[in-house]
């Protein structure tokens, strides 16, 4: 092991013969109305290796937990099976009971007889009971073969590297610094602020984007715990939780390195770039994207809306350009995929802009061509209502009947098969066409491939679980802030940045951090040194061949191993296993399940 990595001190209560306690939960009546819990407990009490089997109305209550503690004390129970709800809810609860009672917490097995039994077999009480018995028996087989495990502890740099200096990155750095951590912002552009640098008056606050950026930037620059590098060209990201290394070049080619315990990915998004000829973009004059139009409007005085030296008296907004694309209707992106996701912020952004045009240039006619208006968010529907009151005319088309723009020197002709008038073909003239373009992820392919970061089907960075582990990447110690995860407005982006920084703060609260020990382990006595397993491993440095005591063996770096088990399957002598999830356990479970 690396000198920075050590095992937590272990509790030596496992060398004793396994004595399993089995606890069947009624979950009020959620389980016991369907499953005959008495029968399950009775059957389990006769099962080899089981010292005691009980049933109880609520195992998760403090009385239920005390039952286990008492059995540990009085009967010498040293392994437990709790058959109850899903482990996602209470696995950790019962691990905690064991730990407090002086038993290694990993000698617990949680069996699901609610979500995957009583709730789905309501009409088959006998079948559900038979299944509960088998599942609990398989749990006993598994827990009997479990080894005590100890969280791996890794010494950590007390520093957060924030990649991207938009509002999310700045917010994340400020939150991290507020928790006493050092933060380093690495921004590839020349300025902090990201996409807000080009935006105008923002919804929902009505503040100017430049003012929002300035406020954040002033705070960042004043904070001694935050270092900012702009024009930073990142060329390497490596290492693992607690010990990441990021190399970057500054203008002039000077190389620098940041070491960090955690990384926040705040790399944001790019505007969808319409292809040449998409609704006339890049071919006809007077076709712009919404961000281009917003930049333009910022510079123009009130009174006369002008573009290319000509007054604009009418304007068409076309929604969903580059978003919610349909297979067979839209041209695929460079990677062959279509952007079938909704870019979320563009509806409100477009309508907010329409209202601002009406305010600044009341005479301009605005036609809004949309598929669905999705002004999600608190009170955002009021922008739509306001636009209707302001006289913006709305046209709605279906996903397959796209609007058609034809252009000549006099302007544009827009044709829409309008759902609002029961499919009538409507046509109008517009001096300017504004394409409400979607959001696509920033190109961070180098960092993503070096760190093997997962992305969703939409190519944005993907969190592990929406509810259970939000803003966490599967890579331990890396968190996502803002629009790098999916299209979101700046309020949402800053909220997610706060979450990311909090998670980094929790992770780095102690000088060394505990990791779940579910990583590959090698039985050096069984390892023949064949060398097949490293080739199966996708994580650089996680599994290598090394000389140990004069013998070539496979060696795992537990801080880099993700515990997928790809190596396990190719090891003929079964010398390698994922701790806590061994093949021997699974063979025994299947045996127990299959037995008549």
């Amino acid at each position: 092991m690396d000198e920075k990595i050590k095992e937590e001190a272990s509790k030596d209560n496992y060398r004793q013969e396994p004595k399993v306690g089995v606890y069947i939960c009624h979950c009020g009546g959620n389980i016991s109305d369907v499953v005959d819990v008495k029968k399950v407990a009775e059957e389990l009490s006769k099962y080899p290796g089981v010292t005691v089997a009980r049933e109880y109305p609520f195992m998760c209550s403090s009385n239920g937990q005390d039952l286990i503690t008492e059995d540990i004390k009085n009967l010498g129970i040293n392994r437990t099976v709790v058959a109850a709800c899903s482990p996602s809810l209470h696995d950790l609860t019962f691990r905690g009971v064991l730990q407090r009672a002086g038993v290694n917490p990993y000698l617990h097995e949680h069996v699901n007889i609610r979500e995957q039994d009583s709730w789905v077999h309501k009409l088959d009480h006998a079948g559900a009971t038979a299944k509960a018995i088998k599942l609990a028996q398989a749990g006993v087989e598994k827990v009997r073969r479990k080894d005590p495990l100890n969280a791996i502890r890794v010494a950590a740099e007390q520093r957060v590297a924030v990649i991207g200096g938009g509002v999310s990155g700045m917010r994340a750095a400020l939150s991290a610094a507020g928790k006493g951590l050092e933060a380093v912002i690495l921004e590839k552009g020349p300025r902090l602020g990201g996409k807000l640098l080009d935006l105008g008056r923002l919804y929902p606050s009505g503040e100017e984007a430049s003012a929002v950026v300035k406020k954040l930037e002033d705070l960042v620059r004043a904070d001694k715990k935050i270092t900012v590098h702009t024009d930073a060209d990142i060329d390497f990201v490596g290492g693992f939780v607690g010990n990441f290394k990021i190399n970057f070049k500054l203008p002039g080619g000077k190389s620098q390195q940041v070491k960090a315990g955690a990384i926040v990915m705040a790399t944001g998004y790019e505007h969808y770039k319409p292809y040449k000829g998409e609704f006339g973009y890049g071919e006809a004059a007077n076709v712009l994207t919404l961000p281009e139009f917003i930049s333009l409007m910022k510079k123009l005085p009130a009174g006369r809306l002008e573009y290319g030296g000509r007054e604009i008296k009418s304007l068409a907004l076309i929604h969903c350009v580059g978003s919610r694309q349909v297979e067979g209707v839209h041209k695929p992106q460079a990677d062959g995929k279509i952007n079938d996701y909704c870019s979320r912020v563009c509806c409100t952004a477009a309508i907010n802009t329409a209202n601002q045009i009406k305010e600044k240039y009341p005479g301009v006619r605005i036609y809004d061509v949309y598929r669905d208006i999705r002004t999600y968010g608190m009170m955002h529907e009021s922008y739509y209502e306001q636009a209707s009151k302001n006289g913006v005319l709305f046209f709605r088309h279906t996903e397959t009947d796209q609007p058609v723009v034809t252009s000549d020197r006099t302007g544009h002709n827009v044709k829409v098969k309008d759902v609002l008038t029961w499919g009538e073909e409507l046509e109008f003239k517009a001096d300017l066409v504004v394409l409400v373009t979607g959001l696509v992820p920033s190109d961070i392919s180098l960092i993503k491939s070096q760190m093997k970061m997962p992305s969703s089907a939409d190519r944005f960075l993907q969190e592990v679980h929406l509810k259970l582990r939000p803003v966490e990447l599967a890579n331990a110690g890396i968190f996502i802030a803002g629009a790098a995860q999916y299209p979101m407005d700046s309020t949402e982006a800053m909220a997610s940045a706060g979450t990311a920084a909090s998670k980094a703060g929790i992770l780095l609260a102690e000088p060394d951090i505990p990791l779940e020990p579910f990583v590959a382990v090698v039985d050096e006595k069984k390892c023949t040194g064949c060398g097949l397993c490293p080739a199966e491993c996708s994580y650089d440095g996680a599994l290598t061949m090394s000389e140990k005591n004069g013998k070539k063996v496979a060696v795992v770096n537990p801080a880099l191993c993700k515990g997928c088990g790809a190596c396990v399957a190719v090891c003929e002598p079964r010398a390698i296993d994922v701790a806590g999830w061994t093949l021997a356990q699974f063979d025994a479970m299947v045996e127990a399940i299959a037995k008549e």
Binding site: S86, S88, N112, R114, E115, Q116, D117, W119, V120, H121, K122, L123, D124, A126, G127, A128, A130, K131, K134, L135, A138, K452, P454, S456, A457, Q462, V464, H465, A474, F518, E536, S538, Y539, K562, G563, C564, G565, A566, V568, A569, V570, C571, V578, W581, L583, F586, D587, M589, V590, E591, I593, A594, K595, E596
Partner: protein, 128 residues
């Protein structure tokens, strides 16, 4: 459940299909009780003989519910599908019908797909 109905082993992933199976329960949807769900970090860990061994032990059918493109582990799905292809070859050699093993992808909210896979496997197991 008739007493001697063949059992179906369902291999799920901690990240994706196990929560998917929970979602089916949370929605109180129903399927048959001869189904036994086990969970793993990733089914890529099972060697070919694990599946063959399960059939030998008397398991009627096996559904591997992987995380597919949501898989948090690099390259694991590709390795798994290659391995399953080899298991099919070995099953053929032993005269085990191919439809008794199925590799599929189930997400955390794929309730309909989960039920469909089970009902198809029920048919395959009943016919075997």
């Amino acid at each position: 459940m008739p007493p001697n109905k063949k059992k179906i082993l369902i291999i799920t992933t901690n990240h994706s299909s196990y929560p998917g199976a929970d979602a089916v329960g949370q929605a109180r949807l129903a399927y048959e009780a001869n189904t036994y769900i086990i969970r793993v970090p990733d089914p890529v860990m099972f060697p070919e003989d694990f599946y063959l061994g399960a059939f030998d032990k008397g398991i009627g059918g096996i559904i591997i519910m992987s995380s597919g493109s949501d898989c948090p582990y690099e390259g694991a799905y590709e390795r798994l599908s290659k391995r399953v292809a080899r298991v099919y070859e070995k099953m053929k050699a032993r005269g085990i019908k191919a439809d008794r093993l199925k590799l599929t992808t189930i997400c955390t909210v794929c309730r309909a797909a989960f039920l469909k896979e089970i009902s198809e496997m029920e048919k395959a197991v009943a016919a075997a």
